[in-house]
Symmetry: C2
Subunit: 182 residues, 2 copies
């Protein structure tokens, strides 16, 4: 589609508001922004991990777990299942909440679940170049798309090998082991 104008947002405090917002110079539309929720899963099948190589920016060509933005009117669990289906044509059985991560710079809150494949069927979706099941040692560790993916894989390992308890939060800066209270 084509449009007569381009969006043209300026930062200004709308009438009756207290904070600067992005307001369109053409029509006065106020683009209120809220933190975004990412939902995703560490997916296991016979011990292996379902990994997706991204076909889209950011970080095209790098590896991630199935994850994406929660939609309106969707539960986080439904969202996590939908993302795995969209990115890897995989049906999941969700088990429990692995972690609640925050990326304040991006105003993201991530809800990451532990899951298993409901069947062995999977295939690259439109947003993935390839998907595969990897033993832990064979995960493309040098080509992981985002820090939170590394955190999730490490927290899954801590549960498995150290009996750690979920849910975790961001690992460093005062929370070395990713627990809220310890």
């Amino acid at each position: 589609m084509t449009y007569p104008l381009q969006p043209s947002f300026i930062k200004t405090v709308p009438d009756g508001d207290t904070h600067e917002r992005a307001v369109c110079e053409n029509c006065g539309f106020v683009n209120y922004q809220n933190p975004k929720i990412v939902v995703g899963s560490v997916v296991r099948h016979e011990g292996r991990f379902l990994m997706c190589r991204r076909a889209i920016e950011p970080r095209r060509g790098f590896w991630t777990i199935p994850a994406g933005y929660l939609e309106l009117h969707e539960t986080p669990e439904d969202g996590a299942r939908r993302e795995a289906f969209e990115e890897a044509n995989a049906e999941l059985t969700l088990k429990s909440l692995l972690a609640v991560y925050t990326v304040p710079r991006l105003s993201q809150v991530q809800l990451i679940y532990r899951a298993t494949l409901a069947s062995e069927t999977f295939a690259a979706g439109e947003e993935s170049l390839e998907v595969g099941l990897y033993e832990r040692k064979d995960i493309p560790w040098d080509d992981i798309a985002f820090p939170t993916v590394l955190w999730a894989l490490e927290h899954e390992r801590m549960i498995e090998e150290e009996g750690a308890e979920a849910p975790f939060v961001n690992p460093p800066s005062g929370n070395p082991d990713g627990h809220l209270m310890r």
Copy 2:
């Protein structure tokens, strides 16, 4: 301020997208809308519960736990502490994640923490008519503002009295005890 045009949004699926979005007919701006994140806490002090009587709509005059919308660039933990300070002038020590609730009708995801008062100081903030510490039996059970407040208080009880494990999710419809996997 005045503007040459009015915002004029139509529902359409943008190129490369999978869902209908609100797109401005004038400039093609896509108004992606996201679910909103509510952060809050069940706050204990010497066994009692910190409860706030709402001074604002919705549910003015009814009782709630300190909770509100997460701001941009804020961690959920910081948001939960901020809300307790705004609504009850209370400083919290967060302990762990109690629950992740969803209200799909409102596109809300709620992250509710277990917390204690860092000091005995508290007082009604601008959004509260009154705040107080209540024994469980004295909580104004008939005047609770939202179902999720009841869920959180019940889940806190299940941890305390039944040794149940957090985090919980919405209680009913297939999840009678509010656990994801059981």
